[in-house]
């Protein structure tokens, strides 16, 4: 293990393998960097910017920056955590998020991140966009009000399901998720309820119908332990396996 190249993350050495990004190496080593649009199973793209870290003095997205030997990475600092809280506030203000009535409450990555980072206020005036829901599919509901544009569903469909179900359209504040059908309705795509893309949504956009509230609030994923602990549980640990 000591022969592997390492970098320093908040003063502690983190080993990394070839091709790993700072985020991948950190999670493999059991170290958490807050993130939203990063998922260990898909290609990182770095849009949410929650994982912004100071790498040799430069602010970079940890999920897309290749790990380099002997670099100094700062992540758990006051200014970076304040930045992360502000980004989470921006995402809350951008969409229509009403946690108390949301089926995803307790299982929601955005909500959990807000709790974990200590977001105490709204911070910004909410934009209250008009985003109609798509209930056309018999088994899946799309509630775009909660979309944070992380593109996990886009990537999951493409990289795991081998389908084109979701894409992004528009630009700027008008950027939004669309489905791959001329009618614009999910029922006319080749999505299946078993798809990775359906499962991966970190917020309450892509929901399976008729299973709502099967697990009561209070006993859900992030009710059991905070997102920072869950992320480490989920992280692949190639280094440890290698070590065995």
């Amino acid at each position: 293990m000591s022969e592997r190249p390492t970098f320093l993350l908040d003063g502690i050495e983190v080993p990394f393998g070839p091709g790993q990004t700072v985020m991948q190496a950190a999670l493999s080593a059991g170290r958490y960097i807050p993130h939203l649009c990063y998922h260990p199973e898909f290609k990182p793209h770095g849009s949410c910017k929650v994982c912004t870290a100071r790498i040799d003095g430069r602010l970079m997205a940890a999920c897309t920056t290749p790990a380099e030997s002997a670099t100094v990475v700062e992540s758990d600092t006051d200014d970076l955590n304040e930045l992360r809280r502000t980004l989470v506030q921006m995402l809350f203000a951008e969409g229509n998020h009403f946690c108390p009535s949301c089926e995803k409450s307790g299982n929601c990555g955005l909500q959990a991140l807000g709790y974990d980072l200590g977001v105490m206020t709204a911070g910004f005036r909410h934009l209250f966009p008009d985003r109609p829901v798509d209930a056309s599919h018999p088994e899946i509901l799309l509630d775009f009000n909660r979309c944070i544009l992380c593109e996990l569903c886009v990537r999951a469909a493409r990289e795991v399901d081998g389908k084109h179900v979701f894409s992004l359209a528009g630009r700027g504040l008008d950027k939004h998720l669309i489905v791959n059908a001329e009618s614009g309705r999910l029922v006319d795509t080749d999505v299946a309820v078993t798809d990775k893309a359906v499962e991966v949504c970190p917020v309450g956009v892509i929901l399976r119908k008729r299973v709502g509230f099967a697990v009561p609030i209070g006993e859900r994923r992030y009710d059991r332990s905070p997102i920072s602990a869950q992320a480490l549980e989920d992280a692949p640990r190639p280094l440890e396996r290698h070590h065995d």
Binding site: H45, G46, S47, C48, K49, V50, T52, L59, A61, T64, P66, D79, L83, T86, L87, M90, L91, A93, E94, F124, R125, L127, I148, L149, H164, F166, S167, L168, A169, G170, R171, G172, L173, D174, K175, I178, V179, N180, A181, E182
Partner: protein, 626 residues
């Protein structure tokens, strides 16, 4: 039916013909969409499906790309689509008044299509005609120098359904306005001179046979006397990129030459989108041969055989002339196989036209757009010099940089370096506009003072100059002795002058709207932050601002600087911060109080209740502030 776009049964064959002319290549999607939009006045849903099927790409991808670019409309936008250029200089010259007059005359609301489907009137980002504004685009064609009379005639032509080809030619006449020429604007070279000079420079060691010619093209640096000699001259010149970032051109070229790949590409960034700049428009319309010479010299130096010009959509009207110049150069053996009789020197250039997206001026977003995708900046590293167009080594250079490289190929690096300052060699072309007597392009050696430029262009009573556009810096009269150079005031060329009558808060507000409109929306801080900046500025403008807004602006600036994905987000706050620092009274006199007040007028909100209850006594009013 009159007025409606001509959508008929021949849609399918026409779309198929366009797709086939672009070789059924998904990388040409933006060009295909542009031609479809031009053919039908918008991109019909049926065409989106047809394009997707013909290119074998998902429907949602075509729709995603089409909806990214502001010039592509997915719904009918009128037989005549009028877009008023909305740079601050257009506004200063009365563009809003003309827009109102036109909407009134044509009975249409801004941003909407008239009920008969005849016309829509809207706004678009700076069209690069600031020296002859206000300007508008009608079906993509630029009409500068608007006056009451011209706007009235345009309304008549629209109402009488006169086709654009029958409009008076002078409406579309764009002047070059070259006010001060130096080595570049007064270059005096014949087409091909720079290529011949570059070949001459390497002739000493030129002994390869044609059969071996590829060797010097493919990383075999040692055997490449000619290209290396040219590369050395460009390095010696210390030429730096003219698009704003100022990266040393020779280093970029050398990195690309040394990178391994299947092919290398020369890309000319002619996506001149920074509000207030228009010098590339002049270079493209009057100095196209020099540009193509520069691109060919670059191709020779790095070993590329294919080049692109990414022309901003606003300059679509230059396309035919550029294509004609390229054709003439092919006939003269200045493009194609064996350029200037040199075996192995093969190079050709294709022009791609953008479609209304400022962020595509960022080099990696530009490459994405060239590949037929949404113009979203890539993650870097890797950089384009190693992984650019189609992941191959690519140089992306500004129009002016490539023109300067052509001069260096003829006159040498030492000659070029002798001009300008220590760290900024050569000359810079400025786009001078705003409150000046002689707007136009001015070429100066680097190091010229702002004051000198202001004197030469006849600035009246200037209180501020926006140097290098909204992503640059705004300076006030105490700084007019500063010098335009990378050492002091770096600039991509925009030089917008504001006299003492201008409200600098409104200038900053216009620029803030620009950034929000042009944000690609990829990253959270820029997508949401630029819109929140707009909300704060609009609130101050409406007379409801407080210190809270100023604090929020500072907070948003921190977030954008720390975490935005690209330069657009990093610089989106500059216009506000610069003007807040230098013209703070312009903000403070708009603030409703210097302490917090709610976003709305509480007492005013009760007016309706008072009216309904017929009360107007003191108890029916909230206490006014002490």
């Amino acid at each position: 039916m009159d007025g409606l776009p001509d959508i008929t049964a021949d849609l399918d064959p026409r779309v198929r013909a366009i797709v086939s002319r672009w070789g059924h290549e998904p990388t040409r999607l933006v060009q295909i969409l542009r031609e479809v939009h031009e053919a039908f006045g918008f991109v019909p849903p049926r065409a989106v499906s047809l394009i997707a099927r013909s290119l074998r790409v998902p429907y949602s991808r075509v729709r995603g790309v089409a909806s990214f670019y502001s010039f592509f409309a997915l719904e009918p936008c009128g037989r005549y689509r009028v877009l008023f250029s909305d740079n601050v200089t257009d506004r200063m010259a009365g563009s809003e008044k003309f827009l109102d007059a036109m909407c009134h005359r044509l009975w249409v609301e801004p941003g909407k299509v008239s009920e008969d489907g005849l016309v829509s009137v809207g706004r678009t980002s700076c069209t690069g005609l600031c020296d002859q504004g206000p300007a508008l685009l009608v079906n993509g064609r630029a009409v500068p120098a608007l006056t009451d009379e011209r706007v009235g005639r345009i309304c008549e032509l629209i109402l009488s359904c006169t086709p654009l080809e029958a409009w008076p030619e002078e409406f579309f006449a764009v002047r070059d306005n070259v006010r001060r020429a130096d080595i570049l604007l007064g270059h005096g070279l014949a087409p091909g001179d720079p290529i011949r000079a570059a070949l001459q420079r390497g002739a000493r060691g030129w002994s390869e046979h044609a059969a071996n010619a590829r060797s010097w093209r493919e990383s075999f640096v040692g055997a490449a006397e000619g290209p290396v000699a040219t590369l050395e001259e460009v390095k010696r010149s210390n030429l730096r990129g003219r698009g704003g970032a100022g990266f040393t051109t020779g280093i970029k070229w050398e990195a690309c030459r040394r990178a391994t790949g299947l092919a290398r590409y020369v890309v000319c960034n002619a996506d001149e989108g920074e509000p207030g700049t228009f010098k590339d428009r002049v270079l493209l319309s009057r100095y196209a041969d020099l540009l193509f010479d520069g691109m060919t010299v670059a191709a020779y130096a790095i070993g590329a055989s294919h080049g692109f010009v990414y022309l901003r959509g606003e300059y679509r009207y230059l396309l035919d002339a550029l294509e004609a110049t390229l054709e003439r150069r092919r006939a003269a053996k200045l493009l194609g196989h064996g350029i200037c009789g040199q075996p192995g020197l093969d190079f050709d250039i294709q022009v791609h036209v953008g479609a209304g997206s400022y962020v595509c001026g960022e080099e990696s977003a530009l490459i994405e757009s060239l590949e037929g995708k949404r113009g979203v900046p890539r993650n870097r590293p890797p950089y384009p010099v190693t992984h650019g167009y189609l992941q191959q080594p690519t140089i992306v250079n500004n129009v002016e940089t490539l023109c300067a490289a052509a001069l260096i190929a003829v006159h040498g690096g030492e000659w070029y370096r002798a001009l300008g300052t220590l760290k900024s060699s050569g000359t810079k072309i400025l786009s001078v506009a705003g409150d000046v007597a002689q707007p136009g392009v001015y070429e100066y050696p680097f190091g010229v003072t702002v004051r000198q430029v202001l004197e030469d262009c006849g600035a009246r009573n200037p209180q501020a100059v926006q140097v290098s556009g909204p992503s640059g810096v705004c300076i006030d009269a105490t700084e007019f002795d500063r010098r335009l150079a990378f050492e002091d005031l770096p600039t991509a060329g925009a030089f917008t002058v504001f006299d003492s009558s201008r409200d600098m808060f409104e200038v900053a507000r216009n620029y803030t709207h620009f950034f929000a409109h042009e944000s690609c929306g990829f990253c959270t801080p820029c997508r949401v932050g630029t819109s929140m900046l707009v909300a704060a500025m609009d609130k101050i403008h409406a007379g409801n601002g407080t210190q809270h807004e100023l604090r929020e602006i500072n907070r948003l600036n921190q977030v954008l600087l720390m975490s935005a994905h690209c330069g657009l987000g990093h610089t989106a706050c500059n216009p506000i911060l610069d003007t807040l620092k230098r013209f703070r009274p312009a903000y403070e006199r708009k603030l409703r109080s210097l302490d917090f007040t709610p976003a709305f007028d509480l007492d005013g909100a009760l007016a309706r209740a008072r009216q309904m209850t017929g009360r107007d006594d003191a108890a029916a009013h909230l206490e006014s502030q002490p």
